[in-house]
């Protein structure tokens, strides 16, 4: 079978699998977030944290819950890494405490659902940090994202109230009823296919070529599944999903892509159910789907169409890609991981063709909304829908409205603030890094030592790092040594601000929408469930977010890709 055909078939299987679970999972999540009952284990959790899960919260209260919970998470994770040196060897594997700037970076990274890793898992983190710290955040940071998205959806669905539900209930339900059950099943599948799951120590094994190599055990499969399902992306091992213990074969590779995409896509169904019109959900799904498929097709095209004899002999750009997966599967994975906030990698984005690298960059720059991170993809897309409705909605001769809610001054102010945050962080920090004398030295591919004698690739490395951080992706382009105080601190800040500032505006927006009375739909209303609107939304996303980064992209991947 030709590599191209294999890639297309894998993509087809993936779409079929996603389509199969779309409705049941979406409907199930809608029930989870609107049910009045509490499970016994949930009641126990509420009692232990002293929360009343039935108390309705207005947006400031909901936001306080999000911020307080996340702040405690950062603090706990930071301290856990700092005390690693005094933990018993059985749980620390003998690793020492993590340095303050890296500990801050890692804590921020996992709480912000980013999982940017400036450390090597197998050389720095013991069982305690991996399992109690990182894996727990993989679950709860994802649940926080879904909770905020559900709060925004409630803002659309409810009227004449400011109440958005209860943060603690949404957080606990997301974890207990959605993430954990799927993870258990997923982990079993991964283990069955060869991923490891143990608490073994470090094995020293002889290498075929002589010398020895250290191999870690660990609770890998359980962390792997939530890494993908919660669009986290932080690998147990440095090599992430290209490591055979994490991602043993082509099937697990496809399964992991499925896990990455399943919740973000299904949430559009949940959204449709909760606002009482599944067609509205389909329109959002279509928008996400068009961008995702378009990006995947482009990626496959550019990766398979590599120039030069070596690439043709290999059947595409194979540098930095696993033989087990090949070009097609790596392309699908690369697009899925950067169009969501996952950032797991099964191949090295730095080694993609110039355009391929650009596609991964652009995917993140669009704000990771197609389908995006768990929760964050949906609320990001809904904010873009508000912007699109505002601009184009006027063209039907009415002041703009979306899902029966008027988009007035307050709403547009909040949406505008939302879309300002990430470009400011990405471009601001990248510009600072380029302007200062120290940070550019971290690049592997500077003008002096790169193949084509231009610094375009090195610039892409820095741009990618901040794009990945501020958009909470967490994947690394590779090549950049980011474990310096400068990058640890600035990327850490970019991750925290890029995660929580947008949430402030999203929740404020939700509160403002929930207070409105609904506008009835008439023949004069803009039909936001029609293909025309989905097309318009795709255009607005590409033009508004895409154009923001055009100059930067021109000097990085485009300069490289067009040369």
């Amino acid at each position: 079978m030709s590599p191209v055909l294999s890639g297309v078939l894998q993509l087809t299987a993936l779409v079929a699998a996603l389509a199969l679970v779309y409705r049941p999972l979406g409907d199930y999540m809608a029930r989870v977030y609107s049910s009045e009952k509490h499970l016994r284990v949930e009641k126990w959790i509420y009692r232990s944290i002293g929360a009343d899960p039935d108390a309705e919260m207005r947006w400031p209260a909901y936001l306080r819950g999000v911020l307080a919970f996340s702040f405690v998470g950062v603090l706990f994770l930071y301290l856990l890494q700092r005390i690693q040196g005094i933990l018993p060897d059985s749980v620390s594997l003998g690793f020492t405490a993590i340095s303050p700037d890296q500990a801050f970076n890692t804590a921020a990274s996992f709480v912000a659902n980013t999982n940017w890793q400036s450390y090597s898992g197998e050389q720095a983190m013991g069982h305690a940090v991996q399992t109690l710290g990182l894996a727990v955040q993989n679950f709860v940071s994802a649940a926080v994202g879904i909770a905020v998205a559900v709060a925004l959806v409630r803002g659309f669905a409810r009227s004449r109230t400011g109440e958005l539900g209860n943060f603690w209930a949404d957080l606990v339900r997301g974890t207990v009823r959605v993430l954990i059950p799927i993870s258990v099943v997923g982990a079993l599948v991964l283990v069955a296919c060869g991923a490891i799951q143990n608490f073994a120590g470090i094995h020293e094994i002889g290498r075929l070529t002589g010398g020895t190599q250290q191999v870690n055990g660990g609770a890998v499969a359980s962390q792997e599944v939530i890494k993908e399902l919660g669009t986290n992306g932080g690998g147990y091992f440095n090599a992430n999903s290209s490591h055979p213990f994490e991602n043993p074969n082509a099937f697990t590779n496809l399964f992991e892509i499925f896990l990455i995409l399943v919740i973000p896509f299904a949430l559009t169904r949940t959204f449709g159910k909760l606002v009482g019109n599944v067609k509205q959900g389909y329109a959002i799904l279509a928008t996400m789907g068009v961008i995702w498929l378009g990006f995947t097709a482009l990626m496959m095209w550019t990766e398979f169409a590599g120039h030069g004899a070596a690439l043709e002999a290999a059947g595409g750009a194979m540098e930095g890609k696993e033989q087990r997966f090949g070009v097609g599967a790596s392309a699908i994975f690369g697009v899925a991981t950067t169009l969501t906030s996952t950032g797991a990698v099964d191949s090295f984005h730095s080694s993609f063709t110039g355009f391929g690298g650009g596609i991964t960059l652009l995917g993140m720059m669009l704000g990771e909304i197609a389908p995006g991170g768990v929760g964050s993809g949906l609320y990001g897309m809904l904010v873009m829908a508000i912007i699109a409705v505002f601009i184009a909605g006027l063209m039907v001769g009415r002041t703009p409205e979306y899902l029966g809610k008027k988009i007035g001054t307050r709403e547009i102010k909040l949406a505008a603030c939302y879309i300002l945050i990430t470009p400011t962080l990405v471009l601001g920090f990248t510009a600072l890094s380029m302007a200062l004398s120290g940070p550019p030295e971290s690049m592997l591919n500077t003008a002096a030592n790169s193949v084509d004698g231009s610094g375009a690739h090195g610039f892409s490395e820095v741009l990618y790092a901040f794009t990945s951080g501020a958009n909470n992706n967490g994947s690394a382009f590779g090549g950049l040594n980011a474990n310096t105080p400068w990058y640890n601190t600035t990327i850490g800040l970019a991750m925290l601000l890029g995660r929580f500032l947008p949430m402030v505006f999203v929740l404020a927006l939700a509160g403002s929408l929930a207070e409105q009375k609904p506008v009835p739909e008439t023949a004069g209303t803009l039909r936001t469930e029609k293909p025309l609107f989905a097309g318009l939304l795709v255009g607005a996303i590409l033009i508004i977010t895409g154009l923001t980064y055009f100059p930067a992209l021109a000097l990085g991947p485009m300069a490289e890709g067009l040369s």
Partner: protein, 702 residues
């Protein structure tokens, strides 16, 4: 509800008579755009360069700063033609934006000047304890009583409390025919600046000097009182945030460029910023708003706030008075129905005979129908020698004529039946059935009876009905397609109301309506999130006018009504409500279309400027130069020139408003997206290429 029904015009006529620019039915036009206005408004455009004025439009303020910066740089390096060229075109961009606003305002200024003439200082004859004293008009206070006699200018807004007079209101309405103003009732309001033509009235002043209707009108048409509307503010916020995003993209570009070894001059960066930020809509936004108000003024409607114009676009329920808006206001004969044994022609003949002396509109309509349908020539009273006319009285409730031994009567069913039976005549057995049928259809039956040598007998029934204006059904169908529900308000009984509602094609009706019913209906609709528009003129309409989202008061109405509404129709034509809604929609569409156009433009500008900036260091980027522009300088200059010229090119569109036809939201979006979205994407590629071709012809550049 008022009983006065001012001059009516059919909807079609109104459009033609009031809007010289209207080409076809259904299109809302905005008057002609005269290029000479551009020249006339130039001094104003320069005056608006004041930074304190400019800062109100964040987008154009950034362009102003860019112009100042490039000017300084150009002065520092006076030999650089490119710097000067960019500088000049950036200033032109700012100037064009100001020009657009100045032109929009200029159209109102002329109208304001006419109004000012009416507002000459008047001397008021104030009544002080029954004694008349002369005081300047400006010293009048609310509650003062003033006397006005023939030839006097009424010194302030108020209500007539004594007397009746004919008043020339042409200063405000432009209508030269005098109107009657009398104490009490719904025709008591008088406006300062209008002239009493006959008789004597005593007016109670209701507004403070400086806040009169005419003062407000001057402020409105001049745009002095113009405040940004909610949607305009929201759009400004979005534009400001896009400006920040693009500023950020350009400011951070310099470190990237330095790293790439292609440091850019400030002039190029300023040019890039100006090209990227949404200058087109930023420049035209306030002109669009002013022009929207102006389109209303041209139709003799004064909107007291821009908010009301915007709300008009959102209206989902229209309350329309039956009388005068939907029907002509008078019952007219529609049919002659014979009873068994007679023919329609016989009925027509008798009906015409009995109505010859009847000067009521109903009577006239019977004669007209007989002529049109049965070819009966109108006989004049003089032709019938010895005819004895029986006039209508409240007692007999019949009218008719005795001539040549024949007695013809027409009138209310009961009276005519009694008259026939009194004379021992015969009432055909189907009479009752026929009259009931007419009543049920919403009409009014009049019986026609004849007494001659064959005895007294009922001949037939005249079917009188409210005649719905032509084209109303189509108009309501259009409104329905636009998603607007029409509700007919009438004092008629439910049966009659239902029949007329069905004939006119309105969605709903409110029969036997009291002001309280109307208020309740508005509140009910609003509770469901709908925006309601209505017209009214009586004092008892005032609460409902105030409650409605768009309340259009008739100029003939009371001052209470005018005070309560947020629009005043100087023509007092209730049908205009439909046009007001269309103008509101057109205003919003124009805003959205130009915003979309403006943002879509950016794509082409990137393709022009980015290769020009960086192809030196990354030759591969020259592949982005898909327009094949001649040189980096001409590429950047062309983009800037296009950016400036497109503002001027779109001024007429901003002032006239984009083409608007009533259609569903879906087809409207499809159409406007194609024209302004796709068009906005493609147009600059062509425009920039053409400008580049011209620029590259200049020696020493290409």
């Amino acid at each position: 509800m008022s009983t006065t029904t001012p001059v009516r015009t059919a909807p079609g006529e109104t459009e033609e008579s009031n809007s010289p620019g209207s080409e076809e039915h259904g299109r809302v036009s905005g008057g002609l755009f005269d290029p000479a206005q551009l020249v006339k408004s130039l001094p104003d455009a320069f005056r608006k360069l004041d930074p304190r004025v400019m800062v109100k439009s964040p987008v154009m303020f950034v362009v102003l700063i860019g112009s100042v910066v490039t000017t300084l740089l150009a002065v520092k390096d006076p030999g650089d033609w490119f710097g000067w060229a960019i500088t000049v075109w950036l200033w032109l961009t700012v100037l064009f934006a100001n020009l657009a606003e100045a032109v929009a305002e200029g159209r109102g200024k002329a109208q304001a000047d006419t109004l000012r003439k009416a507002k000459t200082d008047t001397v008021a004859r104030r009544l002080n304890g029954g004694v008349e004293e002369s005081v300047p008009g400006t010293e009048l206070r609310v509650g003062d009583l003033v006397v006005c006699e023939a030839g006097d200018i009424i010194p302030g807004d108020g209500d007539v409390v004594e007397g009746v007079a004919s008043v020339d209101e042409s200063a405000i309405t432009g209508e030269s025919a005098p109107v009657i103003r009398e104490s009490g009732g719904d025709r008591s309001a008088v406006t300062g600046g209008t002239k009493v033509l006959s008789d004597r009235i005593v007016v109670k002043i209701m507004t403070k000097p400086g806040e009169t209707f005419i003062d407000r009108m001057i402020n409105l048409v001049e745009g002095a009182a113009r405040q940004k509307t909610p949607n305009e503010i929201a759009l400004n916020i979005l534009l400001a945030s896009l400006t920040i995003v693009f500023l950020l993209a350009v400011v951070t570009l310099q470190p990237f460029a330095i790293y790439a070894g292609a440091e850019q001059s400030m002039i190029v960066l300023a040019a890039l910023v100006v090209c990227l930020i949404p200058t087109t809509i930023g420049a035209l936004l306030s002109a669009i708003g002013i022009a929207g108000m102006d389109r209303l003024v041209q139709r003799n409607v004064l909107a007291m706030s821009g908010r009301a114009v915007e709300a008009a676009g959102d209206i989902s329920t229209l309350l329309l008075d039956k009388t005068g808006t939907i029907t002509y206001g008078n019952r007219q004969a529609a049919e002659f129905v014979p009873v068994k044994g007679t023919t329609a022609a016989e009925v027509a003949d008798a009906a015409q005979l009995s109505s010859l002396a009847d000067e009521t509109p109903e009577g006239r309509s019977i004669v007209v129908l007989a002529k049109e349908k049965y070819g009966l020539r109108e006989r004049h009273e003089g032709e019938l020698v010895g005819a004895e006319w029986v006039p209508f009285t409240a007692q007999t409730r019949m009218s008719g004529v005795d001539v040549d031994g024949r007695k013809v009567r027409k009138g209310a069913t009961g009276s005519v039946v009694a008259w026939v039976e009194e004379r021992g005549g015969r009432v055909a057995e189907d009479t009752q059935k026929l009259t009931e049928e007419i009543s049920q259809a919403g009409g009014t039956p009049l019986l026609v009876a004849l007494e001659d040598d064959k005895g007294a007998r009922v001949l037939g029934v005249i079917h009188l009905k409210d005649v719905v204006k032509e084209g109303m059904r189509e108009r309501f169908d259009e409104l329905r397609r636009m998603g607007i529900k029409t509700v007919m308000i009438t004092g008629d009984n439910p049966l009659t109301a239902k029949a007329i509602a069905e004939e006119a094609g309105v969605d709903d009706f409110l029969a036997e309506a009291t002001p309280e019913d109307k208020m309740a209906l508005i509140k009910r609709e609003q509770a469901g999130g709908k925006l309601v528009a209505m017209t009214g003129d009586g004092t008892n309409d005032a609460p409902a006018l105030a409650q409605a989202d768009v309340g259009v008061a008739m100029n003939t109405g009371t001052s209470a009504a005018k005070e309560a509404g947020n629009m005043v129709d100087l023509d007092s034509n209730p049908t205009k409500l439909i046009e007001i809604v269309e103008i509101g929609k057109q205003l919003l569409i124009t805003r959205g279309a130009l915003t979309t156009f403006s943002i879509a433009n950016d794509v082409a500008k990137y393709f022009a400027i980015i290769p020009a900036m960086f192809a030196v260091v990354y030759p591969g980027l020259d592949k982005l130069n898909i327009m094949g522009l001649a040189s980096p300088e001409s590429a950047i200059l062309s983009a800037v020139v296009f950016n400036a010229l497109v503002i001027v090119a779109l001024v007429p569109l901003a002032l006239k408003g984009v083409r608007y036809r009533p259609m569903s939201a879906d087809s409207m979006l499809r159409r406007n997206l194609t024209v302004y979205g796709l068009g906005g994407l493609i147009a600059p590629f062509i425009g920039i290429k053409i400008i580049d071709l011209l620029i590259s012809l200049i020696p020493g550049i290409g």
